[in-house]
């Protein structure tokens, strides 16, 4: 019999304001989480949303449905990436997926088709979880990567689960 590959890992805890993949190595497939249905005046209800990188980094999967693909062209306000006023980034690989509040973010590898710079961009917003559903952010418009460092969870802010 084969040796067991691994034991199942306990679920990884992340904060709603943090980034799921920060500090972790790039994996093709990661489960993160996002907050659903946070209404003022209510005790926030947390439900797990399954976020993964699939197909060797070709897709972001949300709740087992492929939602965001490589090959999109993103105009990025990312001075740290290249010297263009706006990088025109062709997304070649998703390296990781994370959440920042209700915003789904992705760490991607790509190249600016204007200047040719090839590198990794940290945590670009790609969608939001609203009423339990993933809604695309308009990725035809200018996108601004989130800060690299995850923020600490605010007091009383719910934690969400990831595996």
């Amino acid at each position: 019999m084969p040796e067991p590959a691994t034991e199942s890992e306990p679920e990884k805890r992340i904060t709603a304001a943090g980034n799921a993949g920060s500090g972790a190595s790039s994996t093709a497939s990661r489960l993160a989480a996002a907050v659903r249905d946070v209404r003022p005046g209510h005790v926030p209800e947390t439900m797990t949303t399954r976020l993964r990188v699939l197909d060797d980094g070709a897709w972001l999967s949300v709740d087992d449905t492929r939602r965001v693909s490589v090959s999109e062209l993103w105009r990025l306000d990312a001075p740290a990436f290249c010297e263009c006023d706006l990088a025109d980034l062709v997304v070649e690989n998703f390296l990781d997926v994370g959440v920042d509040g209700r915003t789904v973010t992705a760490r991607v590898y790509g190249q600016c088709i204007v200047c040719g710079t090839k590198s990794t961009v940290e945590w670009v917003p790609v969608g939001r979880i609203l009423d339990g559903e993933f809604v695309d952010i308009d990725r035809e418009g200018v996108l601004e990567p989130h800060r690299n460092d995850p923020e600490p969870a605010a007091p009383n802010e719910p934690e969400t689960n990831a595996g």
Binding site: M1, P2, E7, S8, K12, A24, T27, D56, G57, D63
Partner: protein
């Protein structure tokens, strides 16, 4: 932390997936829980089933692993019948029709539009005829490749077919090797032409002589850690081991186990053995193999025949296996060009008829996506070559038809960035009509791969094309990176990516300009690969010189975001529903 895939594999993997697969097939596609799609689709790969891409919900690509590309008499007909009956879906291809089979660069067969409910019936028919999809995909021993005419080839050093068959029997369905960190690609070659392409495999056995007790013994040298994917191409590294044919399973199993136990299960990007060899070095791989995984003393490497390699080298005879070649038994094998490896189901069935009428009924598949009809006697040869089917699948094709290789592309594949097979057909036809190679250049390999997974093996072609995007007149369009000068042989080398992001409609013009420059500036008798080697990247980039011509590309838009690029209404909103379970 192990990846999701590793967690899924630790729950259910290997042979046991089959019973779940059949249960889902029995109960219907909708019986797969919504929140388990990613997990089950990953597992189904082990049994050769890939869920097709977005917009094609409920349809699967099925890969049939044919070791060394050998289809025994009658098996090609079975493939054609299955393609005709089951590989039909809501989309029709404008060039290839409604039903077809794809011959792959790893000597396998792929069918599309397979419905889950049909899988048990397809498996039953395949297995009743000695065919299987087991481990055709997934994290285990994949289809073993080699010189497809092993055992027949008049030029071979050693018949590798019994070795390959033995490995296939031992490592297919073997629980000790069914759950590896990632795919495991093995090549075993017995011929002196290099047609097993061992250099780009995880594990390669290549023919070599070893002097033992004063006598030359024929066996195999061992190389480990080749591969093309993920912008990290590697040539397999020589680990200084020679092995007798009868000991190949021990060494192959030892190395597979070494990979199983030491490969990276936390980062799938890093999980191939090529990265382990990078990290450890070839000496440590050998030492660990000797110390922990085999119970006999390993020989040092023997005298190889790599200097004689011609396959995919860009020059010499047998750059491929197309055309008429003599077998050791006095009959002939006839390599037929299958443009981009795709053959309509009707043609598959007709070819099966011809193989029976003129040969033994056996057909073999090459790593250049072509078919080879074996065992054709001299007396039958002319009549066979006169068959109308061979006008389309020619043993003497145009260099641009002959040299074309393409992966699946956005038509079905989730990974690809651009349309590939039909595009490569359009390119080849345009080049045939409009471009002349120098008279003494008979082969010119152009490989089109939709992404960095490199299923079309772009890095080992004269011209490598790889899917990309760019803007043209402000609009996002499909584009290709252009690499030049790749090839195998005694001094294998990967293509150099000299020109980036060429809009797809400017590629034919770019290639015409490149070939014109090559013809004008080459030295007497100089091959394309040598010409590339003599020039720096900037000079080559100047020669590529993209421009529009009368070539028109109907698939400039984002085919990845269609449900099927050739549908009249191709938007994802028009995606068909998952097929009914009937």
């Amino acid at each position: 932390m192990p990846s999701d895939v590793e967690n899924w594999k630790s729950e259910v993997y290997g042979n046991e997936i089959r019973e779940h697969l059949f249960e889902f097939a029995e109960q219907g596609y909708d019986s797969i829980p919504d929140d388990e799609h990613d997990a089950w689709f990953e597992r189904f790969k082990w049994w050769g089933l890939y869920h097709q891409r977005n917009g094609q919900e409920g349809y699967f690509m099925m890969r049939i692993g044919t070791p060394n590309g050998v289809l025994e008499p009658g098996q090609l007909r079975v493939v054609g019948e299955i393609a005709d009956e089951y590989a039909r879906g809501p989309g029709a291809n404008p060039i290839f029709g409604e039903s077809y089979a794809d011959f792959t660069t790893r000597q396998s067969i792929q069918l599309h539009w397979i419905e889950l409910s049909d899988v048990p019936a397809v498996f039953e028919k395949l297995e009743a005829n000695g065919l299987s999809t087991q481990q055709a995909c997934g994290d285990s021993w994949r289809n073993i490749v080699g010189n497809p005419v092993a055992g027949k080839d008049a030029q071979e050093v050693i018949d590798a077919w019994p070795v390959i068959r033995g490995l296939n029997e031992e490592f297919k369905g073997n629980d000790d090797h069914s759950n590896l960190p990632r795919k495991w690609k093995v090549s075993v070659t017995g011929s002196a032409d290099g047609s097993g392409q061992g250099d780009i495999n995880d594990l390669a056995f290549e023919p070599a002589y070893k002097e033992i007790a004063g006598e030359d013994v024929v066996g195999f040298n061992v190389r480990v850690g080749g591969g093309l994917s993920r912008n990290e191409p590697r040539l397999a590294r020589d680990i200084d081991v020679w092995v007798r044919p009868e000991n190949v399973p021990d060494v192959a199993g030892g190395l597979s186990a070494l990979f199983r136990d030491n490969g990276d299960r936390e980062d799938r990007y890093n999980a191939r053995i090529k990265f382990l060899v990078d990290e450890w070095g070839a000496d440590a791989v050998r030492d660990t193999l000797q110390a922990e995984y085999v119970d006999f003393e390993l020989h040092t490497a023997g005298r190889d025949v790599r200097e004689e390699y011609t396959y995919n080298t860009g020059g010499g005879e047998r750059n491929d296996l197309v055309g008429v070649h003599e077998q050791k038994d006095g009959t002939n094998f006839v390599g037929l060009n299958v443009l981009v490896g795709r053959m309509g189901a009707d043609d598959v069935l007709e070819l099966a008829d011809l193989a029976e009428a003129y040969g033994s009924g056996e057909v073999r598949l090459s790593q250049r996506q072509n078919v080879i009809v074996t065992d054709v006697p001299d007396a039958e040869l002319d009549a066979f070559l006169d068959e109308p089917l061979l006008e389309h699948y020619s043993p003497e094709p145009s260099p641009f038809m002959r040299g074309s290789v393409a992966c699946t592309g956005t038509e079905f594949c989730s990974l690809s960035i651009v349309e590939t097979k039909n595009r490569q057909v359009r390119y080849a036809r345009w080049l045939k009509q409009n471009v002349d190679l120098p008279d003494d250049v008979e082969e010119f390999h152009i490989h089109l791969s939709g992404c960095t997974a490199s299923c079309a093996q772009p890095q080992i072609a004269d011209v490598s094309l790889r899917g990309m995007k760019t803007r043209k007149n402000g609009e996002a369009v499909e584009a290709l990176d252009v690499g030049l000068g790749g090839g195998l042989g005694s001094e294998p080398q990967f293509a150099r990516w000299v020109t980036q992001r060429v809009p797809v409609d400017e590629i034919p013009g770019a290639l015409a300009n490149l070939i014109e420059g090559f013809a004008a500036e080459r030295e007497d008798g100089e091959g394309f690969r040598a010409f590339v080697e003599r020039h720096d990247d900037d000079a080559l980039d100047d020669l590529v010189d993209p421009e529009e011509t009368d070539y028109e590309d109907p698939m400039m838009h984002n085919t990845k975001m269609t449900w099927y690029p050739y549908a009249d209404d191709d938007g994802l909103d028009a995606s068909p529903p998952a097929p009914a379970d009937d």
